[in-house]
């Protein structure tokens, strides 16, 4: 059940990614439609975050290529925004909420230029959209998990991109934040923006996403959410059918075998 899209916003062609020679993603061929909220769904260790990083060019590809807006990532970077897992940074870093949101402007500013007043106003506006304008001067070390995620979201908004990649934005946030985030994503998609979200909760997936991608080391399904989230496909994603694939991967590491000749 892999729907391919006519004019995709993201196109992955035969992507394989390996860590220390062990493949964590096998031969992914994937196209994603624009203007929708897309969920990447799969169990722990399925390679969801790695897929996102592969799209953003943050991991080395053993094979294949990625096209975004039918172009190379480097040509369209200013139209793409990436929100890492909030655990990936040290929240004790000496910075204020506004400092972090301003980082969203850095891509547009380029090297050496300092943020101007206009950038600060954009950043404040983005903080307003996530209900955090009263926290602008607060140190990031004092934020709760939900607030941290909102700050990251505000930083992404400040990038004023057309395509957003978000790694587990709903992990470790309170119910109110989760609701606020999904409302924001829906209003973004109404404005024609595309949001790709890594997600592990099946319960909410049907409600949150227009399009779902099921992943477990390899691509299992991709298509409109109601056609993809079927018991059979979910069983294939979450069931234990992958022992062979995992075993071969382990073998490649142990024998220090090259994954590509």
């Amino acid at each position: 059940m892999i729907h391919q899209v006519e004019t995709p916003i993201v196109e992955l062609h035969d992507i394989t990614v390996s860590y220390h020679k062990k493949p964590v993603l096998w031969d992914i061929d994937l196209t994603l439609p624009s203007g929708s909220i897309i969920g990447i769904i799969g169990p722990n260790g399925a390679g969801k975050s790695t897929l996102l990083k592969a799209m953003m060019g943050l991991v080395e590809l053993s094979s294949g290529y990625v096209r975004i807006f039918d172009q190379d990532l480097d040509q369209v970077r200013s139209r793409v925004s990436y929100v890492p897992q909030k655990e990936s940074v040290d929240w004790d870093f000496p910075a204020s909420v506004l400092d972090v949101v301003l980082m969203g402007r850095y891509g547009k500013l380029g090297l050496f230029t300092r943020p101007r007043k206009a950038d600060k106003e954009v950043a404040m506006e983005c903080l307003r959209q996530v209900d955090m304008e009263n926290y602008a001067g607060r140190q990031i070390s004092q934020l709760s998990g939900g607030q941290q995620q909102r700050v990251f979201l505000a930083r992404a908004l400040a990038q004023e991109a057309d395509l957003y990649f978000m790694d587990e934005p709903f992990a470790g946030v309170d119910a109110a934040t989760e609701k606020a985030i999904i409302n924001l994503l829906k209003s973004m998609s109404k404005q024609g923006k595309t949001v790709v979200v890594v997600h592990h909760d099946l319960q909410s997936a049907l409600e949150y996403f227009d399009w779902a991608v099921l992943l477990n080391l390899r691509l299992i399904a991709s298509g409109p959410v109601n056609q993809v989230l079927t018991p059979e496909l979910l069983q294939e994603t979450y069931g234990g059918k992958l022992t062979l694939l995992a075993a071969v991967g382990d073998l490649l590491t142990k024998k220090e075998f090259p994954s590509r000749e």
Partner: protein
């Protein structure tokens, strides 16, 4: 005969350092080992000053205390002041080492230690620094006895604690669940590192201690994953490093400790390149 004593002293430092080093690098604590080997200096100087001689018992005691203090301070700054680990290590050992060097200058003249010997030791003097008993019998080089005892102690520590050390290194939470006192074995290991460092300090200097603690185990780790094999390879490497290092130093007329670290580095480099070549993708087409 001179060559024999020096190589033997080198080996007697290399083997216990290497065996403990295997555990250190598997626990991701290589830099804690580095920190301890620097930080025992003030302990040695104070023991030197108090006892007025190179009497091994008080030196082992002084440095042992400092070694444990270093471990404790690193833990303390990390857990109580929430300082990141790398900074806790960096601040602690530079501070204590600075204290040691200052003490040497303060006691200069009263203590037969100088700054250079701290760094690269006096392994060349091993054969002439003899142990002479009260009745005037020459028993051979003093360092050989000290390091021999350290060697035996470390060996028995590793043999007796084999199971616990392995468990606490491999899976500390499982070890704790089965009733092994993880903290105790952590401190015992660090204590063993401190003792070895002290014994080695005046003969080979801080640098060679660090080199022996880290380089041979890291080299062995590239070659095997079996802990016992890793220790065996480390031991053999220690022997080779002492032998080749000594001859390199004689040939260049330079520091023996320095030459031994160079040889350790070269052996590591060779193994690293060998592994790189053998794991290169073979051309099938």
């Amino acid at each position: 005969m001179e060559a024999f004593w020096i190589i033997l002293a080198g080996t007697l430092v290399a083997i216990p350092c290497g065996l403990l080093g295997c555990y250190l690098i598997l626990r991701n604590m290589a830099m804690v080992g580095d920190a301890i080997s620097h930080a025992v200096l003030p302990g040695i100087v104070i023991a030197f000053f108090v006892s007025g001689s190179r009497e091994p018992i008080s030196m082992l005691l002084g440095a042992g205390v400092l070694g444990l203090l270093t471990t404790f301070l690193i833990e303390f700054f990390h857990s109580k002041a929430r300082l990141q680990t790398d900074a806790a290590i960096g601040v602690t050992f530079t501070w204590l080492f600075a204290l040691g060097v200052i003490l040497i200058s303060v006691f200069a003249g009263q203590v037969d230690l100088d700054q250079d010997c701290v760094l690269y030791g006096e392994i060349a003097y091993v054969p002439i620094d003899l142990w002479i008993t009260g009745s005037g019998i020459i028993m051979g080089p003093r360092v050989i006895y000290i390091m021999g005892i350290v060697f035996l102690l470390v060996l028995s520590f590793i043999v007796i604690g084999q199971k616990q050390l392995f468990l606490t290194t491999f899976d500390p939470s499982f070890a704790a669940a089965t009733g092994v006192n993880v903290a105790l074995w952590h401190y015992l290991l660090m204590g063993a590192v401190s003792f070895t460092t002290v014994g080695a300090f005046e003969s080979v200097g801080a640098i060679l201690v660090v080199a022996f603690l880290i380089v041979p185990p890291a080299t062995a780790y590239l070659l095997t994953e079996d802990l016992n094999k890793m220790m065996l390879i480390t031991t053999l490497l220690g022997l080779a490093i002492s032998f080749i290092g000594y001859h390199l130093a004689v040939w260049l007329d330079g520091s023996i400790a320095g030459a031994m670290s160079v040889v350790a580095g070269v052996l590591f480099g060779l193994v690293f390149i060998y592994k790189e070549i053998t794991s290169r993708p073979a051309l099938v087409n």
